[in-house]
Symmetry: C2
């Protein structure tokens, strides 16, 4: 019951991919390249958020506190937590309702868009997730306490999660870069998208709110991965 | 005195263009295509702003009020005014310090980024400047009064201002679309950039804050117009 309660409906890209494959099969026609991909291409906007250690969660929300699931994300086992925080930046400017993504990790990291960074007064470094050495920190405020992050405030590099079968299909390897073409009236192509490959990954591009709003990304915006 | 007070230094792109041409001439080498362009390519971010009629200015700032120059813009005769407004959106959410651009026009128009629209609760239509028929309005608040704009809140189409000699060089006509390639660690290419041509225009691309922050546009970011 708890599991179904928070279940999201399948992503539009997943349904479209299945329908497209079924229609071509029904017509007895060969699949065009994108429709023949092993997995549908899902593009999601990551709004600003943070990842925390269990220790940080307990300082902010109380001893023994466990993050609760607000909404399951597309990547297996990942979720937006019910818990949010207040971030206090270098000029005492704040961001309220900063969402925590679960489950807990072994490092603390805040991922902001450049628009957020400008509003807060951060000169955000562009980093791959987890690569936070030498970055700025911030103060986080929860209902039960303050937690001073000494480093870890970044603008995450745009990236695509891939299963090894996707990497094989697109002919790329982990650490390489691809481009993402997005259509529509405000269409654009993002360069230098980091490829991340893991057997646990589902094919999904993560862009931030600046990128999503620059092209007005909608559920029906056509998206294409380009090598 | 008043004129020099507000004068901006030449845009970096202008200086680079002159230096590049001088260096190639000194070396006695033929100019590469971009360096041979009649004018430097300037790319500027337009933060949210509004254009007002003189009648609206007087309702907001008092009878007979004239906009004052805060900073001259790159296009001849255009300026950011000292005066700013408070915009009140459909959910009573506000934007403070909305900059007015002068001189006054014969229509009232507010240009926001999609990020602003989401924050305010506007479903912004994408329009060319001046094409505001049927768009939503808003309430504007100045120190001397309120002005209800019945329509005119838009997300302006990304566009490039061109002198006819620039249009000839790039082989485009007014109303056509070009692309803008921007480099750097967050590089991207913007499609569907509207070409606007007028003998009074200097070559300049206007992108909004979402687009500028999506690619982290900096003074030294390489930019290229593509047909």
């Amino acid at each position: 019951m708890a599991a179904t309660l928070q279940q999201s409906p399948p992503h539009r890209a997943v349904v479209e991919h299945l329908v497209r494959q079924a229609v071509y099969a029904r017509m007895g026609k060969p699949l065009p390249k994108a429709a023949g991909a092993p997995n549908p291409l899902v593009v999601n906007i990551s709004a600003r958020h943070c990842h925390l250690t269990q220790a940080a969660v307990e300082i902010l929300f109380g001893k023994g506190h466990q993050l609760q699931v607000h909404k399951w994300l597309y990547q297996e086992g990942q979720y937006a937590a019910k818990e949010t925080l207040t971030l206090i930046g270098p000029r005492s400017r704040i961001i309220s309702n900063l969402r925590i993504l679960g489950p807990c990790r072994n490092l603390n990291q805040v991922e902001l868009a450049y628009t957020d960074g400008i509003a807060l007064g951060f000169d955000l470094p562009l980093r791959g997730s987890g690569d936070i050495q030498g970055t700025l920190g911030c103060m986080l405020m929860g209902p039960e306490g303050f937690f001073e992050m000494e480093q870890g405030v970044i603008r995450a590099m745009r990236h695509v999660h891939m299963h090894p079968t996707d990497a094989e299909f697109y002919g790329v390897k982990a650490g390489q870069q691809m481009r993402l073409k997005m259509g529509g009236a405000c269409g654009l192509t993002l360069d230098r998208m980091l490829v991340r490959v893991d057997p646990s990954f589902k094919l999904e591009v993560h862009i931030d709110t600046d990128e999503g709003n620059a092209c007005n990304l909608q559920p029906d915006t056509p998206c294409e991965l380009i090598t």
